[in-house]
Amino acid sequence: MLGKRTYLLVAVLAIAVVVVALTFLVFKPLTGPATTKRVVTYAYRDAITGVDPSVEDDTGIMILHLVYETLLRYDPKTGGYSYVLAKSVEKVNDTVWRIVLRDDARFHDGSPVTAYDVNFSIWRTKLVYEELGRGLGYIWECVNSTNVLDDKTIEIVTSYPCDIRPTLAAAYGAFIYSKNVLKLSGISDIVSEELITWFNKGNELGSGPYKIVKYEPENEVVLEKFSDWWGWKEINNPNAPDTIIIKIVEDPGEQERLLRSGGIDIASSIPRSSIKVLKDSGFGVVVADTFHNFILMFNTRRCPTNITDVRKAIAYAIPWDSIVEQSLMGYGRKGSGLIPYGFPGYSSKWALKQDLDKARQLLSKANAPCELRLEMVITQGYEEEEAFAKLLKAELQKIGVDLEIKALPWEQVKSLGQSVWEKPEEAPHLIINDWWPTYLIPYDYFSLLECLEPEKGVINYWNWAGYCNKEFDEVLSKAYEKSLESLEESLPLYEEIQKIVFDDMPAVNLWDMQHIYVYNQQRIRFRDGAFNSLYTYTVFFQYVEVLK
């Protein structure tokens, strides 16, 4: 026998269910993405590692290029540079460059961008690197002094003939910000950790088209349109987003789910196998060329990969012509030398072809004194690396080499790669390092194989091959100096370096990455300029249209 209370409870529950159901129906428009502002939600796969414009050297790039500006920007169409904060960059003589700033640029607090701010930004970046070793301030290495001539003019004096333009347009370490950050933060020491922390809490004073309004690097970053940005009138994009939500979604499957359900508008990392299906379902796909490549490094300090012929045998066993189709599902380019396609110094002549007979001959010639059982470490969650590793394993089996594949989180990959210097026997025989440049100097890629002076404890932590060749280091040093002076004239030297790499084979570039962005075509349009191969992972949202 059921009592009154039971009936009452059932009635309350029924009413609750009806109320919730009605609320869902009635308030659907309220909870949906429709809004008066143009909001775009962009899913990015990695957490943001920092937003100090002088220090950040990793994933913060995608925020920094929206919040701050550089003086010049690389123009992938011409291979030259376009003006951003500078309106002219003139070479006065071999060691002096005069930069005149645009008149209408303002920081987010409304103050004008002046030569004093440029001076402040350059020196903080340079000093933070020189005194703390933080950031990528080495790009200002040739700068000896700076002279502010007036509010809008600054001269950069270099220690030796040095083309400053690649530095002014660098992907990292070239951002200009207001010197008022000292007043705002209440910190007077420009190289202090406190100031770095202040920036990394989401504080900023840049001049870019967007301002940071919410900074939770582990979850999401929200940017808001800076309406006084000088560029709005030039690019004439009334549909540019008012609010950009950069949401950290690590799992590509989750990105796909969110894209389909309307939770995000642009996905930066979708399972490659789903791209065609999404395209057929009406989603847009943009393929952006990048200078981001995947380099296979051989442990040159552990048997058998310490033998050049074994390394070459492995290189010839790689199914080069299948990589793009099978590992990258067509989105990428076959590697040719360490320099990626489109980057100064690239040449297609270094491309390899699979030749299993040659690989067998090389192996037999090598006569390795240890077992042909190799360990390979790849980064967990990188589906293209996983697919490649499986391909390679199958091909190596054909020439009698066993390959054990370990997929590890990135930090552990890095740690194992670096262990080649202290514990080469514990470091894997093969390891994949993905790399993108800081600025338009080929040294950036070859620096991965620079030895430095390990005997004095000066180690190159990115040389996961443990490769040490004094001749290579000498030519690289010459090429680097020459490229600072004249990129064009340095290219023959880089070719010489690539020849050494080809002969010694401590590393091979497997593929040049193309970044794939899948987006909701009903809401988003990309204009020219939204992607730039030098500024990896950055979407220049001022060139994105959000349709209501």
């Binding site: 009592g3 209370r5 919730v20 609320t23 869902f24 308030f27 309220l30 909870t31 949906g32 993405p33 809004t35 502002k37 909001v39 939600t41 957490a47 590692t49 920092g50 100090d52 220090v55 950040e56 050297d57 990793d58 690197y129 070793g133 933080r134 990528l136 080495y138 950790e193 770095i196 990394n200 809490k201 919410k214 690097p217 582990e218 979850n219 999401e220 929200v222 808001e224 609010t243 939500i245 979604v249 799992d251 989750e254 789910r257 389909r260 359900s261 939770g263 989180p409 990135w410 930090e411 552990q412 890095k414 740690s415 670096q418 430095l452 404890g457 000066v458 180690i459 190159n460 932590y461």
Partner: protein, 338 residues
């Protein structure tokens, strides 16, 4: 007096436990691979790299002997300085609390759903012991408690998706994403701010995640209430009450319920810990931020300060929750103090 002594004893034990966990976590983290100095230094390149890493090591205190590092860590921990995250470069305490509040919000709502429903279901089952209602509720509770949370969450999300509510997966609509408040729980902060639109939006998004999370405590508490009440009904004093013709509801409320309060309180304390862990799965499925997501990202990035901070903070919350549950049990059932 005995209760006060018991409470004091429990608090001392809990404090010692917290210290133990801090030390143990700190020591265990030292054994894991990865060098935080290299992560802290970023991507140091060129000849300056070695010096940069050495400076980072010094700044992070990694060059000190283990016991000094531990002492320094304990001192800073007590002073509220839990360090900076090496991956996110933000204060650990701030990161942990922000994400904990997001997780806590789901847990609170899940309990709000689970506790009254399971009490009602458990009571119905106990009252019709052996009957169809009892068997149905028992079966339901087994299914609810036994189903993996990721499966429940995925099924709920799939249903939402099929019915056109897939966008409810986020914590709040993109247009409210900059809203923030004192507690970090959007539903509470929006009410404090008088923003009913935000409350409604956040609340609707909480329902599916909370229901997914509530299934486990519902299943477990229902079964415990069913068994405990059935046993209580066999007690002499309850039989007496029945024999004198008191209404069944009065018997349940006045005589049986007080007898099971301590058991339910204890169980709820334990479940609270478990649910905090389970939120990790639910957060992932519904694309919500929270402590689980933060911790998993920190582990992958060898972000030791965050891993230690999140572990210790969670432990403190769990110990406090269990201590409260113990105290409630001690107050309601003095036998446990003996």
């Amino acid at each position: 007096m005995l209760t006060l002594n018991y409470i004091a004893k429990r608090i001392v034990i809990s404090t010692l436990l917290i210290f133990g966990i801090v030390i143990l976590t700190f020591l265990m983290i030292q054994l894991t691979p990865g060098d935080p100095a290299i992560i802290w230094a970023g991507k140091p390149r060129g000849p300056g790299a070695t010096a940069a890493i050495a400076r980072a090591r010094e700044y992070l205190g990694l060059n000190l002997p283990l016991y000094q590092r531990l002492a320094l860590y304990m001192y800073k921990f007590l002073m509220g300085d839990w360090g900076l995250s090496v991956e996110f470069k933000q204060p650990v305490f701030h990161l942990v609390v922000r994400n904990f509040m997001a997780s806590l919000e789901i847990v609170v709502y899940a309990f709000a759903v689970a506790v009254p429903l399971s009490l009602w279901l458990g009571t119905r089952a106990a009252l019709s012991r052996g009957g169809l209602g009892d068997k149905t509720i028992y079966f339901l509770s087994v299914v609810l408690a036994g189903m993996p949370r990721f499966l429940v969450a995925v099924l709920i999300f799939l249903m939402l998706y099929l019915f056109g509510y897939g966008y409810l997966g986020l914590r709040v609509s993109p247009k409210y994403t900059t809203f923030s408040g004192l507690t970090g729980m959007i539903t509470v902060d929006s009410l404090i701010a008088g923003r009913l639109d935000i409350f409604l939006d956040a609340f609707l998004r909480l329902i599916p995640a909370s229901i997914a999370l509530a299934t486990y405590p519902m299943g477990v508490i229902t079964r415990v209430v069913r068994v405990s009440l059935s046993e209580t009904f066999e007690e002499e004093y309850v039989r007496q009450a029945i024999s004198i013709g008191l209404p069944r509801k009065v018997i349940v409320r006045r005589y049986a319920y007080p007898n099971i309060v301590s058991v339910v309180a204890q169980l709820t304390g334990l479940l609270f810990s478990y649910m905090l862990l389970e939120t990790m799965v639910v957060e992932n499925v519904f694309s919500r931020e929270g402590l689980g997501t933060l911790t998993s990202r920190a582990i992958v990035a060898s972000d030791y300060p965050v891993v230690i901070g999140a572990t210790v903070f969670t432990s403190i919350v769990l110990i406090v929750a269990n201590t409260i549950a113990d105290i409630v049990q001690a107050v309601t059932n003095p036998r446990v103090q003996l």
